[in-house]
Symmetry: C2
Subunit: 137 residues, 2 copies
């Protein structure tokens, strides 16, 4: 556990699912509906610092999140990213992107290109949680 | 093959390695030394459009690129990203990041925070090619 690390000291969002290796959270970002993160439980910096088996497990879980978000939201594109420059604790961003979102087709880290549609999806947390529980048995 | 797709019609960088599934290229970006891409050969949009076996193969190759870049360049952090909003043809960015690069600790898609160090590494292409060939037998 690293003293200054936000993912060592907080869940990092609304907890959707967890196992011994990692957790899935829904990020509370009004600009990006359905933005989820897969966060490793342990403080490990790079994917290649994980053993090969756990690397693949993390990716398989990340792809389940992608699949579930596609089923519920039908986004224009899914963006996957593991950056960690500020928080070097493995976490995967899984970001549903839409043609009318704040930055499309640029990355969400680039300058805003429009105010952006901010859709509200009724019961999104519960629907994600149910589908993840079903897929990740 | 998609008519307007740059990765269907060009290699996408300096070719370091390839197999039937994908290729690894060195991106010619003076601001990001060692920036590589793993590009699927077929025009497929999302990782979850690939079958699970090929998904994992693509990731294992991406992690080899990460490992080799870490060995040669000792970056502060590795950034991995599959976005594809403009080019919806699976490609993984593998980006070595340094504290003195143009955007650190922000994402490379964000606004420039400094002019940035632009190191030249002698024989980088050949060193990457040799290490990848050794790791990806």
């Amino acid at each position: 556990m690293a003293n200054a690390c936000v993912f060592c000291h907080s869940v990092g969002g609304e907890l959707l699912w967890q196992n011994d290796l990692c957790r899935i959270v829904l990020v509370d970002d009004p600009n990006y509906v359905g933005f989820c993160r897969v966060i490793l439980n342990n403080h490990i910096k790079e994917m290649t610092d994980l053993n090969p088996t756990n690397r693949i497990k993390v990716m398989q879980i990340t792809f389940v999140v992608e699949q579930v978000l596609r089923e519920i939201l039908q986004p224009t594109k899914i963006n996957l990213a593991s950056l960690g420059n500020k928080t070097p604790h493995i976490h995967w961003h899984v970001i549903p992107r839409f043609e009318d979102d704040m930055n499309f087709p640029e990355a969400i880290w680039s300058a805003e290109v429009r105010s952006g549609n901010k859709p509200k999806i009724d019961g999104l947390f519960n629907r994600l949680q149910a589908k993840l529980a079903e897929a990740l048995v």
